[in-house]
């Protein structure tokens, strides 16, 4: 049973993550990537960029903490330094979208920390929601070509969950009633990807097997002087089995949420080109050698083999069983059907009591 659901998840959820990472069909306008110091989201951003290059999507990179322009980025907007007000950033993005003339644009934000702390400060006058929607809808800037279809813009933004908010200034008391920026962002996002470190998950899993408390790393350890944890090394893994773990939460338009864990290999084969490069490299976490479930649990045949009686059916028995028309199917025919009706002729020996029947 679990086997069937695994293959079902393999088909559907792999299609979903592939669609999300490739930004096909405008599947997720706002993707929030949550990371920590233990596992930064940079490898995931690299993968976004690689896929964007393959699908010829225009990439715009808003850099708040990146100082070297990454490869594969077409427009690199430096947002650090106090000279750049958010409105200017939004205007530059709109210009870049207009200049590219491409129908599909991908905007990557390498850290929301600055924007978030500015949004809690009333003097900076930044509305986070308004800023993000101004990125997503730059079409208003392009007055001259209204007849053209507006481009599909997707935003992928990284939020470092381990950076606490700065202390609010005294005049910010009005803001204490509004939701925290993180809560706001997670409501707005159509997809949330949490990045996990493979070695930490493995350590947690091995602790769980021994019924021990799962170890914590880095800032969560609360050891004096420790900022980044010493993660155990994953021994005995092939290079293509090293990578990061993605926890996906996708909100469909219907409102239904999809939760799944994926594994993204970081070391990819070289000389990728053409068909080879377009192949999906993400797998389910359950298919990773470290997290694969043992085979005997999955196989129902093996579970029944140790019994003293026969639970299976022969072919003939199965055919006969399928031939039986069950009464409730028959009763659904027009006129009630004949199979399920109770026919009874009262005989002389029957003592019919009207009062008893009324009850």
């Amino acid at each position: 049973m679990s086997h069937a659901s695994l293959s079902h998840r393999r088909t559907h959820n792999l299609l979903l993550i592939s669609k999300l990472l490739n930004q096909r069909d405008h599947a997720s306008p706002l993707t929030l990537v949550l990371d920590t110091l233990e596992q930064p989201a940079k490898p995931l951003l690299c993968d976004y960029l690689r896929r964007a290059r393959l699908s010829r999507t225009t990439t715009i990179f808003l850099s708040f903490e990146t100082f070297v322009k990454p490869r594969d980025v077409e427009f690199f907007v430096q947002c650090h330094g106090d000279t750049k007000a958010p409105e200017r950033v939004a205007r530059q993005v709109a210009e870049a979208v207009g200049k590219s003339g491409n129908k599909r644009c991908l905007i990557l934000i390498d850290s929301l920390a600055t924007l978030v702390s500015m949004s809690t400060n009333p003097t900076s006058n930044l509305n986070l929601t308004a800023f993000l929607s101004s990125l997503l809808q730059p079409a208003t800037q392009l007055r001259n070509d209204v007849q053209r279809q507006p481009p599909q813009v997707s935003v992928v933004a990284v939020y470092h969950t381990d950076i606490p908010l700065p202390y609010p200034s005294t005049s910010a008391s009005a803001y204490s009633y509004s939701p925290s920026p993180f809560a706001l962002l997670s409501y707005l996002a159509t997809t949330i990807i949490t990045v996990h470190s493979l070695s930490i998950l493995q350590a947690e899993k091995s602790a769980q097997v021994k019924s021990q408390v799962a170890p914590v790393f880095g800032l969560a350890e609360e050891v004096e002087g420790v900022v980044i944890g010493a993660k155990p090394k994953c021994m005995g893994l092939r290079p293509e089995e090293r990578g990061i773990v993605l926890e996906l939460e996708h909100r469909r338009k219907s409102g239904r949420g999809v939760l799944e864990w994926f594994f993204l290999p970081t070391v990819a084969e070289k000389n990728q080109s053409g068909v080879q490069a377009a192949r999906e490299i993400v797998t389910l976490l359950d298919d990773h050698p470290l997290f694969r479930k043992p085979k005997d649990d999955e196989d129902p045949e093996q579970a029944l083999s140790g019994m003293t009686f026969e639970l299976g059916l022969t072919d003939r028995q199965r055919l006969e069983r399928e031939g039986v028309v069950l009464p409730y199917f028959d009763a659904q025919k027009a006129g009630g059907g004949e199979g399920g009706r109770i026919l009874y002729d009262m005989g002389v020996e029957d003592d019919f009591d009207e009062e008893e029947d009324e009850i």
Binding site: C46, F67, H80, T114, N121, E222, G225, I228, G229
Partner: protein, 336 residues
């Protein structure tokens, strides 16, 4: 002859000298970081290896901003490991921005000899230690045209010949006057700021966002940025020490600032005391971890440059260290 740079750390320090990197050194009260700052400084000036070949490749001028410690301390510690601050300052290999005496008139009455010596040296003193004045002072320093290219003597083989001669341990003082570095005009210096968090702590009006944007603008103007910062428990784990909602502005802003720095740093050197108490022959633990800035090139594609592949091989590590009386430092792995 023991090298000034501990061998286990050499590869990491060499990687910190790559262009456009930010390095963060965190320390706690029991394990201060000046020894590591000086070694980073040394590596920036002379390279990690002892070989003269390497020294020619890496050799950057340094803008050294000290906000917590006096120049006399740096000069004294540096002397023991072969950094001659006096001549380096006169040659302008190091530009020293003195945040400690900023705005305070010097009192010459109770000066020891080394303090009197250092007072004569050419240093830059910001008018005060407000963020604005330090910003102005640094802008001023960075705007100065390539400091000493005209006055510097031509490279000579003096450095390598003097080094091969001595086999016994002695503090090596490379002759800074005969430095074989010819800085090209466009080359940017490296900036080392000691105690950057002091700016945040001493001035409540400075918001962490302002300080971060100041550092970001600095980073675009220099070859690399090295920062030291405190990571004591009350400054980092405010939620557990004082309970959520009861933390002070300093605690919360410091945690915000430090975590942000670690996210944009390539390597984070974390100094702390022994978890098991104290020992006579161990000064502390140093952990070197990769920060949040892992470079965007390590995704998919051609990564053939040797630099990049070597850097990928460096794994996080943890060692014990001991500061010895002569300011030498011994670094070893647990169990060695």
């Amino acid at each position: 002859m023991p090298s000034s740079i501990p061998v286990p750390l050499a590869a990491y320090i060499a990687d910190c000298l790559a262009p456009d990197t930010q390095t963060l050194v965190t320390s706690v009260l029991t394990t201060p970081s000046p020894w590591l700052s000086l070694r980073l400084l040394y590596a920036t000036l002379y390279g990690v290896d002892d070989g003269p070949r390497h020294a020619q490749q890496t050799g950057h001028e340094v803008v050294f901003v000290s906000l917590l410690r006096p120049l006399s301390l740096w000069a004294e510690m540096g002397k023991k490991m072969g950094l001659d601050f006096a001549s380096l300052l006169r040659n302008r290999r190091i530009t020293y921005v003195d945040g400690l005496t900023g705005g305070i008139p010097s009192t010459a009455a109770t000066a020891s000899t080394i303090e009197a010596d250092t007072r004569q040296l050419p240093t830059t003193r910001p008018r005060s230690i407000t963020l604005k004045d330090i910003k102005d002072a640094l802008d001023d320093v960075l705007r100065r045209p390539s400091i000493s290219t005209s006055t510097r003597p031509t490279p000579s083989g003096h450095l390598s010949s003097s080094r091969s001669a001595d086999g016994v341990f002695s503090p090596r003082i490379p002759p800074a006057t005969a430095s074989p570095f010819a800085r090209s005009v466009g080359e940017k210096p490296l900036i080392l700021i000691d105690g950057i968090d002091f700016l945040l702590a001493s001035q409540p009006s400075v918001s962490p966002v302002e300080l971060q944007s100041f550092l970001a603008t600095l980073r675009t103007k220099c070859h690399g940025l090295m920062l030291t910062c405190q990571a004591d428990s009350p400054l980092l784990h405010w939620s557990s020490t004082s309970g959520p909602g009861h933390e002070t502005p300093l605690e919360r802003n410091h945690a915000h600032f430090l975590t942000g720095l670690a996210h944009s740093a390539r390597w984070v050197f974390q100094l702390r005391g022994l978890d098991t108490g104290s020992a006579k022959d161990v000064s502390g633990v140093i952990r070197v971890s990769r920060g949040g800035d892992r470079g965007m090139y390590d995704g998919v594609g051609v990564d053939d440059s040797p630099d990049r592949s070597r850097e990928q091989d460096l794994a996080d590590g943890e060692w014990l260290y001991q500061l010895q009386g002569d300011s030498a430092v011994r670094v070893w792995a647990r169990g060695e």
